[in-house]
Amino acid sequence: MFLIDCPYCGPREETEFSYGHEAHVHRPAGAAAEKLSDAEWADYLFMRKNPKGVHLERWVHTHGCRRWFNAARNTHSNEILAIYRVGEKPPKGLAQ
């Protein structure tokens, strides 16, 4: 049961949040998407990192402020190493 430090509300129980999978996935849009092969598009659609170790991921405070944010979590220890807002870059040393 994680304790997640929402950047807008402060530390709250995991049950208030929903997991949003890998962060910083680039979505090709419009003409850029048209140019992609089916395989390249499928790579964006379906393929996600699943590291043992630091994972940059998205969370949303569903039962709170309903804001999305990013977290760097060690998937092995479940330690949350950093929390940062959408649009911000991951803290130095945690970028993948």
Binding site: M1, L3, A31, A33, W41, L45, V60, N78, V86
Partner: protein, 1001 residues
């Protein structure tokens, strides 16, 4: 209760309070302070049940949570609980319990015949025997489960209530033995907020079972002083009869507190509380569990852990036997010999696997005139329902075999000890590693990512002084790490605390024959796993401890192998030729001991399990006698039967009334999202497949949302309320999901868009009027909205007053009839509904429910997202190419629609089905085949998504997804059922008013 088994004095029982109880139908008496187990022993009852597989007679083996045998069904009827441990049930007056795994009684058990056929019940028996045919499993399982028994679940709802408590603590101390109390004192004295819990009904831990002394006084007195000091601290919470059953990430600890002294006590008080605790630091002072010695026929009633034997004597003043032998690999069991002897029990011998035991305790035992038989093993046990005698033989130096002549010693109690395992469960739950200590042959807590530390016996430090010191140290360390300064205090000294010599770990005690012949060496008494089973698993190729566990079921019963696992893993390691740390242990997972489902549910039962959402018109529907349908959390009227009407009758009447006069539907539950902002139109362009830029105020448009994989996600009508202001509707069940989805895209993918989303579902009541008389009826209710089709056409909306209430009226239709959806403030919904019903009388109005709505929309070929779609359906599959914009540069799902797979011509496509026999009703989900073969498998073309009887069409009809369906229009297909097959024609999916003249009229 007889004097024969209860000591004349001593113990922590209250001899003034005599309690009556019944076990397996026989009446007994005990005292307050007894457990069910101690009270049974006080009545001479050792035989308490039968084992799981062989139905061997089994006795009380321990005095705590590690008990493998003494499982009982407590009480009867609705409050009954299965598989409770007799060793953990505090006795109360009127208690009723029965053994769980025997019939008709543990003394005479019909299933004991299994024991005679033990050769056909080896490890992996079920896997080997019940493999074929696969369809037979259902039958086998029934008999296996009946034979396997264990307890029975109650058949009626639990009448008691349970609570959940959420709390925070600076330090959570698990276990209130010497180490735990010291840790709590250290933290509490510094002013920290402390929670200390213990699974027993009293604090003191192991001290409750011992004749130990602290600072020259009986240890109980130190415990009482520590407890009262803690209780006087304002920020310290003491929880007795409370098991910390799980330690989770980020230092979250779950506790189960039993509050009712007896099971029938629930009234006016919750029976149990589930505590959810977030701790800054955790101190695990969980103690240790004694492990047995694995000797031949070590499961006979009368075989008991040595620590348990002295617990029964010291704590409960019970004689667990009249003539006891000790069998040990360590000094601690000698304490038991001394305590038993002091209680007047005859102790003919201590059998020690070690060579020349010479510690302080053995010396005392010898001085007390008890024979110590060194380097010897028990090779056989006489007596099946109770130990009668043992055979002892000398071992060779390696302890791998026995020599010489067996010596017979009469006894009715074998108290054995194979050392102590630290209780590392909680440490392991939260990802902590365990480290092997070769000096003792134990796993102790190693590194952990949690803010926790172990102390005392849980940490592999077994002497009382070490427990006291480590506890104080762990408490001080914990608070220092979170910013408190430890207070100075004098520390207690254990007096009369003899030093102990090393143990000798001999995991499998040799006997005169190979393991598995004649006698059985039981590791897991509850699941009947023997040393021979482990060796067999290795011979059959199992290598991993996790695989061997599942194959043999070692450690898989309700006790999760608390006593036998480490010896089992050691025997596995030896058979594999590895050391124990390389072999490892199985994973410890919560809960430490079983937790009742009632406590997990807490107050979230019945109507609180999932909240019901009701519309403002709910009371009217109820008084009209509607049948309800659950749609998400909403209660929606399903249909409104008149007296004597069947469901079909009512739905037919409702449908025909809508087609021929007017019907009213409560559409409040449709999701409504208010969308505002300068980029609102652009946002709609991106989330819907069609174009939205040109939708002007006053107009409405149907939209389809896809996921980015191109599959349909939701649909609904969105109306332009004003420039930069829209009202989106979603499916009733999908409202929250759609709002969350839109927010995700807005916040994470398109944060540059200035758009704000607000759920307004509950702000408005929605009354939907549909049918040829709808316009005339609405005309009577409004004076300021011009309803003429030219000024108020289909797919537009107007604002005005309806029934005296400010309203938005949307001319949209899900039925195919001319229809108006009236949105009014929620508070006005009930009154307006009544007004509409009165005014509608002369227009022949009827309320209609979701079932009629479904029939009416299906007649028109309108889809329901989630019924015609299942996450694998594109707009093209539904023949909705018209709604997919080719011009827009992007929308969610656009690129995916061009994937080769989405362009296949043989994808499943939406079609209509008409059964050849117009009264045959296809089952929804029915599989469609081209031709019916004699037996499956048959190539399947698709499935039925919606199927109804239509009063309008005078026949049954269905919608279906069929491979290349549009090409197959005109063909005949079949839906094979269990007993027959229904032939149908594939037709166009629009069955009614295909040109839409009624809709637009």
């Amino acid at each position: 209760m007889t004097k024969q088994f209860r000591l004349p004095e001593g113990g922590r029982i209250d001899r003034e309070r005599r309690l009556g109880f019944s076990f397996n139908g026989r009446a007994f008496r005990g005292y307050a302070g007894d457990t069910l187990a101690s009270a049974l022993l006080a009545n001479g009852v050792h035989l308490v049940g039968r084992s799981f597989k062989y139905h061997r007679p089994r006795g009380i083996f321990s005095a705590g949570s590690e008990e493998p045998n003494a499982l009982v069904q407590l009480e009867r009827g609705e409050r009954t609980i299965a598989n409770l441990l007799a060793t953990r049930i505090p006795l109360y007056d009127g208690l009723t319990a029965t053994s769980v795994n025997c019939w008709p009684s543990p003394e005479f058990d019909l299933m004991a015949v299994n024991g005679l056929f033990h050769r056909i019940f080896p490890a992996g028996f079920y896997y080997k025997t019940f493999m074929w045919p696969v369809s037979g499993w259902k039958l086998y399982e029934y008999f296996i489960r009946r034979a396997a028994g264990l307890g029975r679940a109650p058949e009626h709802p639990d009448p008691d209530t349970y609570d959940k408590m959420n709390t925070h603590a600076d330090v959570v101390v698990v276990g209130a033995g010497p180490a735990g109390l010291q840790a709590a004192l250290a933290a509490g004295r510094a002013g920290a907020r402390v929670l200390i819990c213990d699974e027993q009904t009293e604090f003191g831990g192991q001290l409750l079972n011992e004749r130990a002394e602290i600072d020259g006084l009986p240890a109980f007195e130190w415990v009482a002083a520590a407890e009262s000091e803690l209780a006087a601290m304002p920020d310290v919470r003491l929880l007795k009869h409370t098991t910390a059953f799980g330690h989770y990430d980020h230092n979250f600890v779950a506790l189960i507190e039993t509050r009712a002294a007896k099971i029938s006590d629930g009234e006016g008080k919750t029976r149990q509380r589930l505590w959810r605790v977030r701790a800054k630091r955790v101190v695990l002072a969980t103690g240790a569990i004694e492990r047995p010695l694995i000797f031949s026929d070590n499961d006979r009633p009368g075989v008991m852990l040595a620590g348990a034997a002295r617990t029964y004597v010291n704590r409960y003043a019970v004689r667990p036997g009249s003539r006891a032998v000790l069998f040990t690999n360590n000094d601690d069991a000698y304490r038991t010999a001394l305590d038993l002897k002091a209680a007047g029990i005859s102790v003919p011998a201590v059998i020690d696997v070690r060579h020349a035991p010479g510690g302080e305790l053995p010396a005392k035992v010898m001085a007390a005139g008890i024979e110590v038989i060194e380097r010897s093993a028990i090779v056989g046990v006489e007596g099946t329902r109770r130990v009668k005698a043992i055979e002892v033989m000398k071992m060779n130096d390696a302890g791998s075999g026995v020599t010489g002549k067996p010596r017979r010693i009469e006894c009715d109690l074998i108290a054995c000890s194979g050392g102590w395992n630290p209780v590392v469960h909680l440490h392991s739950h939260a990802g902590g590693k365990n480290v092997w200590r070769d000096d003792f042959g134990i796993f102790v807590p190693g590194p952990t990512v949690q803010a926790s530390a172990a102390a005392g016996a849980a940490n592999g430090s077994f002497s009382l002084q070490a427990c006291l010191d480590q506890g104080a140290q762990a408490g001080a360390e914990a608070i220092k790490l979170i910013g408190f300064t430890p207070a100075k205090a004098s520390q207690p000294r254990a007096t009369n605390d003899p030093t102990e010599e090393p143990w000798r770990n001999l995991w499998l005690i040799p006997s005169t024959r190979p393991t598995g012949e004649r006698g059985k060496h039981f590791l897991d008494q509850q699941n009947d796993v023997t040393a021979a089973d482990i060796e067999l698993a290795i011979r059959e190729g199992y290598r991993s401890v996790e695989h061997a566990k599942r194959y043999t079921t070692l450690g898989m019963a309700t006790d999760q192998g608390k006593t036998g696992n480490i010896p089992g893993h050691a025997i596995l390691a030896k058979a594999l030729g590895q050391d124990i740390p390389a072999t490892g242990t199985t994973t410890f997972r919560p809960p430490y001991t079983p937790v009742t489902m009632g406590a997990v549910a807490g107050r979230m039962v019945d109507q609180f399990f999932d909240p019901a959402r009701r519309t403002p018109m709910h009371a009217w529907h109820e008084s009209a006698g509607c049948k309800w349908e659950d749609v998400g959390q909403w209660k929606r009227p399903w249909y409104y039967p008149k007296p004597g009407e069947s469901m079909d009758d009512a739905v037919s009447r409702e449908c025909l009334t809508v087609r021929n006069a007017v019907g009213i539907l409560d559409a409040t539950t449709l999701g409504k999202i208010d969308i505002q902002g300068p980029d609102a139109a652009e946002f709609l362009n991106r989330v819907y497949t069609n174009a939205w830029s040109k939708l002007s105020p006053g107009r409405c448009r149907y939209g389809l949302m896809l996921r980015d994989d191109g599959m349909i996600f939701d649909d609904g009508v969105t109306s332009c309320l004003a420039e930069n202001h829209y009202l989106m509707t979603t499916t009733s069940g999908g409202a929250a999901r759609v709002l969350a989805w839109l927010e995700e895209w807005l916040q994470t993918e398109w944060p540059e868009l200035k758009v704000y989303l607000t759920s307004v579902t509950e702000q408005y009541a929605t009354l939907s009027l549909a049918g040829p008389n709808a316009r005339a009826l609405l005309g009577e209710l409004t004076a300021d909205i011009d309803l003429s089709p030219d000024t108020f056409p289909f797919m537009s909306w107007r604002t005005g007053t309806v029934g005296g209430v400010p309203a938005r009226v949307f001319r949209i239709s899900f039925t195919g009839e001319s229809a108006y959806e009236i949105n009014v403030p929620a508070s006005a919904g009930a009154a307006l509904w009544t007004d509409v019903m009165h005014a509608g009388e002369k227009h022949g109005i009827t309320p209609y429910g979701t079932e009629a709505m479904h029939v009416l929309r299906a007649e028109k070929g309108f889809i329901i997202a989630g019924q015609e779609t299942d996450g694998s359906v594109t707009p093209y599959d539904l023949g909705m190419d018209w709604i997919v914009s080719a011009k827009k540069p992007d929308f969610i799902g656009k690129r995916s629609l061009q994937r080769a797979d989405c362009m296949r011509v043989d994808r499943k496509q939406l079609v209509g089905l008409l059964p050849k026999n117009p009264t045959d009703l296809l089952p929804e989900g029915g599989q469609i085949v081209k031709e019916v073969l004699k037996s499956p498998p048959m190539p399947m073309l698709g499935h039925v998504t919606s199927s109804y009887r239509s009063a309008t069409l005078g026949r049954t009809f269905a919608l279906a997804l069929v491979k290349s369906g549009r090409e197959r229009i005109g063909q005949t297909v079949h839906v094979p059922l269990e007993d027959r097959s229904i032939a149908c024609d594939i037709v166009n999916p629009v069955f009614y008013d295909p040109d839409g003249s009624r809709l637009n009229g």
